[in-house]
């Protein structure tokens, strides 16, 4: 038994282009111009899915974006997309569509027992289970419910489709291409303005496509032809405006025709926006109004006029307003027997006359009492005085129209209720926003065109001089009339009268919410799950709100609506991500030496945005093996490491010394030329911001280095102070981080290595003592050598322009090859500094004070510096602060781990402990694991035994608190 057939009628399908697709494994045919839904209807398929909670048979309800039920998992070539809205999905050859929510098959659904269990699944089941006293029960039920309910499932695999993102501008964005939108776009285009016309459908025209009118079709084509000729107009089909944000940023989801990308998300800045988003028809609410074959009246008209798909023999229309008669008349004119159940008692004469002429029977003052048939409706029983049963293929219902006000309220303007049309209309428009047509509650076609033109002229005040729009030669609009009917269900049947078709919310559920005190619109929604499906209640919200308002004895204007939020329709997650996935998720920063590392056996590790050489294969094939070899090289001979990622800032000007003296806690005013000094900066609040070494190049020029992690932050901070506060200081700061590269040459043989590399330069201990700085030219290139040590060994940093960094690096490696110099990576670099007790990014948690790090003595007593005052506030001076300590492992064969929680030896191992390990390494000098940690009370506890707990691995390791300076406490190596 089939309810629909394809009829021989001119429409928007192209019968010369046959399209084959698969539905639940069966090959099926349609035509170009079909939607997936229209092709299925044309093939007589009406049972298309099972409902979310009760697994009731469901079919197609609408013909557009509002569709709550006919959702499929679709795919081409292996990739699948869940919850595809079949009523908007363009039919493409090779597409496979699978019904969702039915197991093992549509016709025989085991889960339909849910229908018998319906008291369990009623409204509030989820809410109470989750919120109630037995929270654990949710944990137990949840996986079962998700398997039984759930819409389509997303693939667990990586989405291999390509998505793109683009950023555009325009003068006027017109959203929607129905009569109002087309009129607005053409008017705007005639001014020469940059116009974007965005249409979610794959055809322009909106309601005109469903009208069946030749004259309107001619008008539509004329407008599109004019737009296509306008060079400043971008015509975007298959494009949904998902949200409007500050300053007219509109997010559009565009499905391109070519396969350059599956979807393009466009961030469009529109000077003005004209919303011509139309209206969505509301269902009526009565018993079994969810049976396959019960559809929106306007959808029947769309399937007939746009897709040549008509009910087989007989249709019943049930309505409370005039618009459904357009469907009744068009169906009757195509040999469908039509009966109308009319809720109103009186009807205007023109409709009565036309109905009589077409042989349409109208039953006044009645609605639908019940629908007969389960997997496909067979008949309806009328209610009221005419309690007859009428056999029919389909039932078209119209409860009136809800303007698609969603976008108008994204900026916070709440919709308002218009009694005349029994619907919410925009509460107003922001300054540069305009509306036209049905979205404003203007339901006439000519009126919509006129409003579109007016809106464009208002959006572009310069368009006075342009030609007026030609109107289509059609009859003047009829006056629209409606009598609101929110709930037409008989009391006994309320549990079969569906309000939300996607989430299975019935009249009874709304009554239940009211009884339990979930009265406000927002509570109603959360209690019943109304409007929380992928359709976001496009067909259900208003009926439900009205029912609740009625139960509470409120007017609709008092009840209000739920908040409309982007996105307007579901978006594939990939489309939001665009190209920013995997390696492109964030930018990658490369050292100027990166290629050398790649070509010389480095393994890399991400450090912030940087790719850093982690270890080199000369030393081993695992980091554990390699870094120990590399450490030994530095402690015993000489190694070279890339330190180009350090922040490097050039500080220049007559007041540069004064500036640095204010920024650092220690003195810089009297730093001699040619000398470097380790410095620490605080924030205003007295917490450590960063540390680094700054050297004086000449009287008015300093070279500052910062940690890799804080380089950007420090630069911004210095600029802020100079530009906004200390404008009297004559200082300029310039970042050299990317322009300069650097390398550390470390180890007892490092001086010999540099002497081999630069034989002309005197770098004896006298010429370049510890913390000395020297600039010279080598083969015409400026080289800066700083005698600094991060490792605790005799060491130098050699910096030069990024362009020459690789050449310089290779030169030093070659020149010092007889010594056995080799590169060492980040892991060894970090381990060496832990042994020396230098703090770094991992230990600095943006909560440490100078005293926490044992650096309090550095701060100048008699000078002002940033953070001085707040450093001494009570909290920062508290004795039990988590402060820096060293830790050494006391158990043979055991490991200390980063992040381990620290307890005193007598503590119960429970809770957050007294501190945690921030950095850890194997010490090649001490032959044991050592660590830096933050510990309650810090070095007060030196010598005490503690437990390092690592619950993830069930480890509790004994250790001892020791000085964080594990090696060379006197600093003899540094000064060698």
């Amino acid at each position: 038994m089939t309810a629909f057939k394809r009829i021989d009628k001119q429409s928007h399908i192209d019968r010369t282009k046959l399209i084959s697709f698969q539905f639940d494994g069966k090959m099926t045919n349609g035509f170009a111009g079909d939607t997936l839904a229209s092709a299925l209807l044309a093939n007589g398929k009406t049972l298309l899915g099972r409902s979310f909670k009760y697994h009731r048979p469901r079919g197609i309800i609408g013909a557009g974006i509002e569709e709550p039920n006919a959702l499929f998992t679709t795919g081409i070539g292996g990739r699948t997309e869940p919850n595809t809205i079949s009523t908007t999905a363009e039919l493409k050859s090779g597409i496979t569509a699978k019904s969702q929510n039915a197991w093992p098959s549509l016709n025989f659904d085991l889960m339909a027992v849910n229908q018998l269990l319906s008291p369990l699944f009623g409204a509030g089941f989820y809410y109470k289970t989750f919120m109630g006293p037995f929270k654990k029960s949710w944990m137990m039920y949840e996986p079962i419910i998700r398997k039984a309910a759930g819409l389509g499932a997303a693939l667990p695999d990586l989405d291999t489709a390509r998505y793109d993102m683009r950023y555009m501008f325009c003068d006027v964005l017109v959203i929607g291409s129905g009569p109002a939108g087309l009129a607005a776009a053409v008017t705007a285009a005639r001014t020469g303005a940059r116009v974007v016309l965005a249409e979610q459908d794959f055809e322009f025209g909106g309601s005109i496509l469903s009208s069946g009118s030749e004259e309107l079709e001619r008008w539509r084509k004329t407008q599109i032809a004019e737009l296509e000729k306008s060079s400043e107009v971008r015509l975007l089909k298959r494009t949904t405006a998902q949200g409007i944000y500050d300053d007219n940023l509109v997010v559009l989801n565009h499905t391109p025709e070519s396969h350059s990308a599956l979807m393009i998300t466009e961030q469009l800045r529109a000077r003005t926006i004209i919303m011509a988003t139309g209206a969505i028809e509301r269902p009526l609410v009565f018993a079994n109004n969810d049976r396959p074959g019960v559809m929106l009246a306007s959808a029947l008209r769309t399937y007939l006029n746009r897709f040549s798909v008509a009910p087989k023999k007989r249709a019943v229309i049930v309505t409370n307003n005039d618009s459904a008669y357009a469907t009744a008349f068009d169906l009757a004119e195509h040999d469908v027997a039509v009966t109308v159940a009319e809720h109103r008692s009186a009807l205007s004469g023109d409709l009565l006359a036309k109905a009589a002429q077409l042989g349409i029977a109208i039953f006044p003052s009645c609605g639908i009492s019940d629908v007969v048939g389960e997997k496909q409706m067979r008949a309806v029983r009328l209610s009221g005085r005419h309690a007859v049963t009428i056999e029919c293929d389909v039932l078209g219902m119209s409860g009136g129209w809800s303007p698609a006000v969603h976008l108008t309220s994204h900026g916070g303007i709440k919709p308002k209720f218009d009694e005349k049309i029994a619907a919410f209309i925009p509460g107003g428009f922001a300054k540069s926003h305009f509306g036209a047509g049905a979205v404003k509650g203007t339901f006439g076609l000519l009126a919509a065109i006129r409003e579109g033109e007016v809106a464009a002229r208002a959006a572009l005040p310069e368009c006075k001089k342009i030609k007026e729009l030609d109107l289509p030669a059609i009859r003047e609009d009829r006056k629209y009339s409606i009598q609101p009917i929110w709930n037409a269900a008989e009391k006994a049947n309320e549990k079969y009268a569906f309000v939300d078709f996607q989430n299975d919310v019935t009249v009874k559920d709304i009554r239940g919410a009211h009884q339990e005190g979930y009265l406000s619109v927002e509570h109603l929604k959360r209690y019943t799950t109304l409007g929380m499906g992928t359709d976001q209640g496009k067909t259900s919200n208003i009926n439900a709100l009205a029912m609740m308002a009625d139960l509470r004895g409120l007017a609709m204007s008092q009840a209000g609506t739920t908040t409309f939020r982007p996105p307007y329709s579901p978006i594939t997650v990939g489309a939001i991500a665009g190209r920013t996935v995997a390696a492109h998720f964030r930018p990658k920063r490369l050292s100027p030496l990166h290629d050398w590392h790649v070509n010389n056996g480095a393994t890399f590790i991400e450090a912030g945005l940087w790719m850093r050489a982690w270890y080199y294969n000369w030393a081993g094939n695992t980091p554990e093996a390699a870094y120990i070899k590399e450490m030994e090289l530095v402690r015993q001979n000489v190694g070279i490491a890339d330190v180009s990622t350090l922040g490097k800032i050039d500080v220049q000007g007559p007041d540069a010394a004064e500036f640095l003296n204010r920024v650092y806690v220690n003195g810089f005013a009297k730093l001699p030329v040619g000398r470097a000094r380790y410095g620490v900066m605080l924030n205003d609040d007295g917490v450590v911001l960063d540390d680094g070494t700054t050297s004086r190049i000449n009287d008015t020029q300093f070279y500052m280095t910062t940690t890799t992690a804080q380089a950007g932050e420090v630069m911004s901070w210095l600029e802020y102070l100079l530009q906004m506060h200390w404008t009297d200081l004559d200082v300029h700061v310039t970042s050299l981080t990317d322009q300069w590269g650097g390398m550390a040459v470390s180890g007892p043989n490092s001086r010999r290595a540099l002497q081999l590399a630069f034989p002309e330069i005197d770098i004896t201990n006298e010429a370049l003592p510890y913390l000395g700085v020297m600039d010279f030219k080598f083969e015409g290139v400026g080289v800066r050598v700083l005698r600094l040590s991060f490792s605790g060994e005799l060491a130098y940093e050699v910096h030069c322009s990024a362009d020459y960094t690789t050449a310089l690096w290779e030169h030093i490696l070659n020149a010092a090859a007889p010594l056995g110099i080799k590169p060492y990576g980040l892991e060894a670099l970090a381990s060496l500094r832990i042994e020396k007790g230098h703090v770094a990014g991992a230990d600095l948690d943006h909560r440490n004070t100078l005293d926490d790090l044992g650096l309090g003595k550095m701060a100048g007593k008699d000078k002002a510096y940033i953070g001085k005052e707040l450093r001494f506030r009570e909290d920062c001076q508290a004795p039990e602060r988590w402060s820096l300590v060293g830790i050494e492992c006391m158990e043979d064969g055991a490991k200390l781990r980063g992040g381990a929680i620290l307890f005193a030896a007598t503590d119960e191992i429970k809770g957050h402990g007294r501190g945690y390990i921030t950095s850890v390494t194997w010490s090649t000098e001490l032959n044991k694991y050592i660590a830096l940690a933050l510990y309650n009370g810090g070095m007060k506890h030196e010598g005490k035994e503690i437990i390092c707990a690592f619950p993830l691995k069930n480890e509790n390791v004994k250790a001892r608190i020791v000085s964080p300076h594990f090696i060379d406490k006197q600093g003899e190596r540094l000064h060698a």
């Binding site: 944000y245 300053d247 609040d685 950007g712 911004s716 600029e719 906004m724 001085k868 707040l870 506030r873």
Partner: protein, 81 residues
């Protein structure tokens, strides 16, 4: 949101960083007064409406400037250098 940089003109907010409340005077550098710094650093109004704040054009000219922004609507009421 679009932010008017006094140097480069109106640009997308993604090019900027927010720098906090600009309505208060920074205490003089060597005041030594804990109370003054405490109030400056920790005591803020949280107005719904106009709010004078610091912004920096980090991915542009790197200029810092003050901006009067409506915190409820993101409307830019005015800027000062």
């Amino acid at each position: 949101m679009r932010v008017p940089c006094p140097h480069c003109g109106e640009r997308d907010v993604a090019e900027f960083r927010y720098g906090g409340d600009a309505s208060k005077m920074r205490p003089t550098h060597d005041t030594g007064d804990l109370k003054q710094w405490h109030d400056y650093k920790f005591v803020f109004d949280n107005p719904k409406g106009p709010h004078l704040e610091y912004w920096q054009h980090v991915y542009g000219c790197r200029q810092w400037f003050k901006l009067n922004r409506n915190t409820a609507t993101n409307e830019i009421i005015g800027g000062e250098k």
